[in-house]
Symmetry: D3
Subunit: 241 residues, 6 copies
């Protein structure tokens, strides 16, 4: 069955990263994945939250919000349960990339603001959030604030949907609203799983279908790891000049 | 490796249901699963939320909260992001059990209040919530408010954890805090999946480990389906007398 | 005039206490008074609120809330003015039982969660709250945290209503909604008054009627003091074994 | 024992009412009782709250707040549990003065704003609130909005305290902070009781002491009923000219 | 064109100040400007807000609120955007009167509570707020808490409106609602400008009209500076006796 | 005195508009003015707020918020008094551009989200907000929803600061923090004033200085009107093809 944008079932939408969109934050990147656009900013604070004080460890947290104009019907500014759930997922996924003891008593906040939403904003936030985190940590390493790199893992995420009984990678909005299953996979660059979330929106699904979705997730994140690396390589070559 | 309470890896904690603990709600059940105790109440309102008005369909929603005394350090009454995430999961899982058009323009709210927390409160809420829902719908069928049963599926849920590299079913608190992977599975009685949530707390996990966890989930929910059915059978025989 | 449940005017509903329902809190007790069921938990914190810091005294406070399923029409979770007023009364009444200087710089919080409401939840909270407080302080005495017992007084409370011009002890819901006067009395075991609250819901009342209500309150609290003592005696004999 | 301001134990502080301080509200009165000053405004709305709609009855409610400058240490503007408890008492007491069916589908709100606080602000709010209510209803009667007077009772309130074992009427702040018992009595002009609230702040109190306090309350409210009547008589003679 | 109250275009409404209305605050003044009545209280705290800690400087802030009965339709107690905007203006204007380093690490809060609103409440708050500030600082100078006067400037404010193409000083409510331009001017006693706010409510306005309004503002504030000085002179002569 | 970025005192920072950044809203434009970047979205709703219902008129409102990464120190997401004040100014300024009766019963919301902040975000929001409004109204005219253009005026805004006694147009952050006077001017394309806001941050200012600032504002807005027109001309020629 042909997809709305004529992609293959295992193909991502076109993905690009623009680094340094904002000057203030230690790391800043805008991800464009098809019509989905998310701005991620990583800010470093030298103070951890109270419950972590004096334990010699750092923390990574995230905030997620949609701009009112990111959807057709104006989205209200008030944060709801969905936003909270997403930002908890983003924070958890990015903490999996970091050795929090090596980070030291620092709080890194990843702000993910959705400029335009066309499905997959939470996984785009994770994929771009990892770059923002990487940029912020690079800054700490360059400035001498950190001696040893606390980032121990490359992390990216994709959505998979089951539409009309067929699993497709990185669905667009049109596919997403009709999906029978809606799944998100967070993976590391060595092919392991960090988070699996798969929800039957209509019919329950079989373990065989879960396996098919996992295969697609592996294909998708492999492409994203390459894109992340490319974006950072260009950036670094610029800084080296 | 022996478990803290000497269970086998694929064994549930002892589970029991007490029906009718509260007189007000249409359905009321207290689940005791090991030291975890949750009180679930299903209330029926003849009014759906505004966004669903005049569509001829009903809705099932859930609220989840922990009593301050349910944990050792008093839990504050203010609902946080974790509570919201859990109640969204419970609501979603129980909606999967219902044909919302058959339900008609009704709102069923499943309140899950944790009396005592020893790991697995969200899955216990789903398993017991399904019984509360079943009781509330039975009431509507008996009173003639509903002619056709809108419940199309039996639903239950279990947790699985990976501790010291080993997957165990239905972990206790002691296992939960040390887990490398923390997973929840919502299943239907025909062995299909409704929701899979698996999170690496420490190390990422392989697909093989995910398969092992899925096997344990199948074993666990099979036992819960039998327990749900038994509890309801006793209840019905009482009502028939 | 016969009462709905055929009690005498000066008779309490059947009262029972279940101790230790929750494992976390220092003191935990469920009171069943007729169809009213309240779960009380006493938690001890070694830190007093800011305004009491460094004064060498402790504090006892209470929180009161009704579970959504405790009434026929689902009660919203949001705390209202009535809840606040009740928890202030419970806190004040239980502070009257304690020598706050002997308690030392500790905060004891009494959480009262209404499982089922059929009139008299605030007085049941006080009567059971005193047992939870007693249990928590017993723990501090056993552990050596306290050398001298700070509890200086046994406290219990009852409601009295005037229905059709007739005063009745411990009204049920049916009597409560029709009452012309609604009164609550908190007393100490030596027959003195700690709090008197008497409100004309319909017609103003005479001082003679207030006297009659005070007589009934004395009768009711005498029975509750005996029940509290019995429940604690059983508990202690268990601990002594 | 002499009182700080040399009054007899059964003497009120000097009381005066200034009517019409605010032009907007249907009834407006400022009460000065010693150093306590409260501004009460009665506003009439032709719409009852949702829960009372289409029942042919009206409602009287109250709001109570302290201006930040009413006390020595600036009072924060945020309403707390004490304010809510007081405004519930004021509303309840003034509803006892009104036949809500005769009032028709109207909401009268009594706003009580404390300009200066020196003990007894809640009872002053009730005493002055009754005048504001009387003025607002007088307006409705004059304009023909009401044909039959819905006010069925004159209401006033006083505080009584037990200081050093001695009951005194209408305590000042200095007496209030040291009081062993703090009591408020709302009465009708025919000598009946509308609300009794008596709280042991230090030592429990006997029924004999409660009787003494009730006697003082009768003396105090008798004086207040005369003062209310005098203030309104002057007002009416002005309107008649 | 005659004004509703027959004033000249460059005439203020009658203005008077009552000092010491409240006993608690360090400075307290009630301003009556026509039918507008505002109560201003200045409270001194020996602690600055966190962001100013340990900088050796003080701060002046303001809060603004309207009593529910200050307008014809009861004003809700909840603070809105307009109130916040006004209190920011009042705070800013009064800070312009103070050398914050000379003030030392103190926070002065100016509470402005509108008793009755008939246009011009924000400018009346500034004019009276300056007196309350002056009184509070006088107290600190008298008590020795301050050695050098931190007040470096006398500040007052007026409104100007353009009605039917004609600029008028200090409009009443009737003029205000019809105004094409609504302007507020905060000035110092040496004729300089502290804040200019001029808003076209209907038609845009020319620079020539702005000049006319500025002339009126100069006239109006000159009269207010004299009135402020007179009120304080009387006060001081009283204190000197 | 040379400016940090070597501009003349009467020169704007480079300004550019990108139209159509977001697909959902009826009008969407990103303004870049030096290092300040604001995204404005205009959304049309066919429903006016309750207080305007059934009056045959529309309304224009604005919301303003800064993304956390728009500044160096992460800005918290919670909206404060400054944000509210700015959004009220933006809404008021853009309402001055519209004949609300011609607009009919519609609500246009202008969302202004600051991507990067380097002084002048409120005036940039107004200038770009006018374009977003123009685009949204163009859409309504094209679709036939509106027959007659309700936009009656072109509106733009600039900041002016007084730094070291010298007035400069469109200050950068560096100039803004040191300014003695901070002013914003909203103007119409026929050279009239819509809003004047001028605040002494340090020293009061003279009327001569206000005149100089007004001259600069006229120069600045003239350039902005040309830039707005150019951006819309390009857009329209694209739509016409």
């Amino acid at each position: 069955m042909p997809r709305p944008d004529a992609r293959g079932d295992d193909q991502l939408r076109p993905v690009s990263f623009t680094l340094g969109v904002q000057r203030g934050p230690a790391g800043s990147v805008m991800i464009t994945q098809g019509n989905t656009v998310v701005l991620c900013a990583a800010t470093v604070a030298d103070k951890v939250p109270g419950w972590l004080a004096a334990k010699g460890r750092g923390w990574v947290t995230a905030e997620y919000s949609m701009l009112p104009g990111s959807v057709s019907d104006r989205a209200p500014r008030k944060q709801g349960g969905r936003d909270q759930e997403i930002q908890r997922l983003v924070g958890r996924s990015l903490r999996a990339a970091v050795d929090l003891e090596r980070l030291g008593e620092r709080l890194i906040t990843i702000d993910c603001d959705v400029i335009q939403a066309d499905a997959g904003t939470r996984v785009a936030s994770i994929t771009a959030g990892w770059i923002a985190l990487r940029l912020a940590v690079d800054g700490l390493l360059r400035s001498g604030g950190l001696k040893v790199d606390p980032i121990i893992r490359q992390v990216a995420a994709v959505s998979v949907a089951v539409v009309d009984g067929w699993a497709v990678l990185d669905p667009v909005y049109e596919e997403d609203v009709d999906a029978q299953v809606d799944a998100n996979f967070v993976m590391s660059s060595d092919g392991l799983l960090i988070e699996v979330q798969s929800t039957a929106e209509g019919l329950p699904f079989s373990r065989a279908m879960l396996d098919t979705m996992l295969d697609l997730a592996g294909t998708g994140t492999a492409a994203l790891f390459a894109a992340q690396t490319a974006a950072l390589t260009i950036r670094r070559s610029t800084l080296d000049e």
